[in-house]
């Protein structure tokens, strides 16, 4: 064991072989040889030795843990988890097993147990920011907020390495908490300015609707040495920032540059569509939105934007196609059915419109857009009684929604939101304004 600790792995292995020849039932020697084999990447042999050791001494924590590490190398994660749990049954506060078990659990999506293990690890080693970042990420996955604030405070300390602050910021950003991510990312960027962190910080600023700050940051960043995809992302973020600061023309140029470098950037296509809409170029906008949805056909918000933009560009057939895509992706979305119903109605297809509109109000009886369309479609088909009935329902709904509108209005300082542009929900309906 002294040879092993001294890094003389081959010699140590020989010594364990000697011991095991004379005493094949020495669990201690089997574990030692297994550790040597692990270091020499002889994982199959190591596994046999650890199993043999456990046969001789089922309570050996060392055998269980080293066997777990071997199983990880052999990609037998479930078995490794079982071994690590046994280790922790014996030593509940063992730091490394706690961490490694958490890693394996997270890979399987078992965030709750992972967070529990890391909570213990964090209590044992509160000074370790690596564990804190990890624990933070799990809590964000679980949407558990109780300990998040204190973890952020800990990680904001100057003693935290900038890379870990960046990781924590990224985790917060991924959880949609850009406002909390920004200080951490800003600290990381100030201490270690680099292109990768600049992109992350810019995106976080945009997500927090600080488009001007993002634009300033990106304007002072240079993508020298970065690959095409990263540079394309760089131009996309500048484009989003410009769009959000009411410069659709400048944004269009940036987004077109991004797409020339990476034509697969769906978000760039989507925001390009937004910018072209802002400039009244509805046909081009529809094409860009459609392209975004074709690039990411499973993203409902892109399909919705494509449907709305196509409708605005008078391309009802395409609008219907993309609206159908939205209803397929989100069959329980009342607004999606209402949109499809409206488009059918505008295409003089009341038979197709009615079931979609009826589905919409079945899902959400308060959806006045669908109720309105029902009144219109019934009127157009000559069913005056139904038209009047749905008109009366609409009048009642409008009354009900008046107060809600006030609150919405208060919350919408500007119809152009950087955060909305990032999410691809950029295209407002035709009638988003009004005092």
């Amino acid at each position: 064991m002294q040879l092993l600790r001294a890094g003389e792995v081959h010699q140590a292995l020989q010594q364990f072989d000697v011991v095991l020849k004379s005493n094949p039932h020495s669990a201690y020697a089997l574990i030692g040889r297994g550790v040597c084999e692990n270091q020499l990447q002889q994982y199959a042999a190591a596994a046999l030795d650890f199993k043999a050791a456990l046969h001789l001494d089922p309570a050996s924590v060392s055998a269980h843990y080293n066997y777990a590490l071997t199983l990880i190398r052999l990609h037998q994660e479930d078995a490794a988890i079982a071994q690590l749990r046994m280790v922790l049954n014996a030593q509940p506060e063992a730091l490394q097993p706690l961490y490694n078990l958490a890693v394996l659990l997270e890979a399987k999506g078992a965030y709750a147990e992972a967070a529990e293990r890391l909570r213990v690890a964090h209590r044992v080693a509160p000074e370790d920011p690596g564990i804190a970042v990890h624990f933070l990420a799990d809590l964000l996955h679980l949407d558990t907020h109780a300990e998040v604030a204190s973890l952020i405070a800990e990680l904001s300390a100057e003693s935290t390495p900038s890379a870990l602050q960046r990781d924590a910021g990224a985790a917060l950003l991924g959880a949609g908490r850009a406002a909390e991510a920004n200080p951490l990312l800003m600290a990381a960027y100030n201490r270690e300015p680099n292109f990768e962190t600049a992109l992350l910080l810019a995106r976080s600023l945009l997500a927090a609707d600080q488009a001007q700050a993002a634009l300033t940051l990106l304007s002072n960043s240079t993508p020298a040495g970065a690959g095409n995809e990263e540079v394309a992302q760089f131009h996309t973020l500048i484009g989003i920032a410009m769009a959000a600061t009411h410069d659709p023309r400048g944004a269009t140029a940036q987004l077109q540059t991004a797409l020339s470098l990476d034509p697969r950037l769906a978000i760039a296509q989507n925001v390009l569509g937004f910018c072209q809409t802002q400039q009244g170029q509805y046909v081009q906008a529809a094409e860009a939105y459609q392209e975004a949805s074709e690039l990411e056909p499973r993203r409902a918000v892109y399909a919705r934007d494509a449907a709305l933009a196509s409708s605005r560009a008078s391309d009802t057939a395409q609008a219907i196609r993309f609206a159908q895509r939205v209803t397929t992706l989100t069959p329980e979305d009342a607004a999606a059915h209402a949109l499809l119903g409206k488009l059918y109605a505008s295409a003089n297809q009341p038979r197709q419109a009615l079931p979609e509109l009826q589905r919409a109000v079945a899902i959400d009886p308060d959806l006045d857009a669908a109720v309105y369309q029902l009144a219109r479609v019934y009127q157009a088909t000559g069913d005056h009684a139904q038209a009047v009935a749905w008109s009366e329902k609409l009048a009642a709904l409008k009354q009900k929604h008046a107060a809600e509108f006030a609150q919405q209005k208060k919350n919408s300082a500007d119809p152009v939101h950087a955060a909305a542009l990032l999410g691809g929900g950029a295209l407002p309906a035709d009638d988003a304004g009004g005092p």
Partner: protein
Amino acid sequence: MIQRATFHGVHGRMGRRSFLKTIAEAAFVSSTLLLAKPRALLAGQQPATKGAPGTGPAPLGYSIHEIAEQAGLDFLQVSGGNKAKKYIVETTGAGVAFFDYDQDGWLDIFLLNSATLDAPPVGTAPGNKLFHNNRDGTFTDVTEQARLAHTGWGQGVCVGDFNNDGFDDLYVTYWGENLLYRNNGDGTFTEVGRQAHVAGSPQRWSTGCAFVDYDRDGWLDLVVTHYVDFSLSDAKDPGSNPYCTYRGLPVMCGPRGLKSERTMLYRNNRDGTFTDVSRQSGIGAKEGTFGMGVVVADFDNDGWPDIYIASDSTPSVLFMNNQDGTFREEGLLRGVAYSREGREEAGMGVAVGDYDGDGWLDLLKTNFSDESPNLFHNDGKALFTDVAAQAGVNRQTHFVGWGCGFFDPDNDGLLDILYCNGHVYPELDRIHADTAYRQPRVLYRNLGAGLFEDVTAQAGDALTSLGTGRGCAFGDFNNDGSVGVVINNQGGAPSLLQFKQQNAHHWISIKLRGVTSNRSAIGARVRCVAGTLSQIDEVRSGGSYLSQSDLRLHFGLRDQSVIDLLEIHWPSGVVDRMEHVRANQFLHVAEGSTRAAATSTSRAKE
């Protein structure tokens, strides 16, 4: 600090750092910049234009000139503050009228003024002005001589000969008592609002108005819209509630959050007085509207006038005439109450015209920023579809639209669209936003086949210069065969736009005089057939935004020098028909004459 997972000297392969980096990247990628297969951009579809492919848009066929100053329209519209608006009453501006008050065959101009919250020094209060047309491209202020001087929060104006004496009278709405100016026929007016019982209440806020012979008895009745129930004594300050913010700025409150109003209808008693028939006619029964522009037309071609009212932030309303002195409100059912999505829009101005020549009158309504104007196509029998998107008039969404009209500036027989704009919040100039307080006008050229193209930039400075337009009226003020436009800019000088023809298109202007019908012939419909062109229009009081346009009907005739058929349907039911009518004239027709009563056939002024 632990950097790697280790135990007994064995390094864990799945280190904490790499794991966390994976999370970070996943978060970044999944929420924003997902990659997918490449695909070439599609070629952009170009909007249709009248020009040949590759040559850009066709020439307009006219040039537009701003001549207000040289024409002598010395007028400053005052409507509260110009840098901030404390209350909503400062934002709505006022209307303007083109009308021939002295019957000399030349359009005069009446500009309405508003007021300020603080009392101005004695003798300096802004007032309305009447400008007499000097027939030489200039105008003279004749307000005092005409006895039209008045101060107050003027809003709207409409014209009609309510007492059938042969001279057009003037009705002016106010935040306060309304005025009815009876035209004395000698260049002067007498205010008779109270004695005619149409002054309304000094506490109410009237906006749009229109004379209409709704019961077809030969006497003009009067419809008056009202905006909000507003009083300075209990008005809320900017920013004081959710209805008082815009783009994060504290701004004047309303109209949402304020008490809505109703429309009034006054029936003409044929003795110089009117009776309020709002309740019994059904007009006043409609609640919950912030009424603005009003327009009257026979939308279902039944021979009876219907009434459409643009409502701000509330459903716009369409009163269909029951032919028995009552109306039924059917805006929603007929598709003109809401946006295409079924939402209330901020309706301001309204215009009527058969832009596609199908024999049914269509509607144009201007709205707020982040909305686009509605182009309600009459699909027949007053069932409408908003075709703004299909027609291509939804391109501009940054402007707050006000006065508007269908007109034919190039006399090609196709109605184009012009509307003026200006935001209600001067405070917007303090922030960087996608919309601003001063805004350009917008001109759409009718391409035929139901399509329009935006030719604002092509039209030049007269349209692209920024302003705060509110009321605007259309009329051939210099009798040159080309329709011009006057705009009452809030807080500024007016605009007078002259359209100078650069083509040889023909036209006709028709002045109708009722005999059995009301003298102004309001409500009379003319069908003008020339070659393949078939057009309709009606003599109309009110319209646009709180304004009055030329009561003469103007038809562009393209290359047709002779009109095959003029058919006039008078409100009385009388129909006059004329064949082979010469183009390029100002034709006067009296009701019941079987041919044109050629009282004036002046050629176009060169």
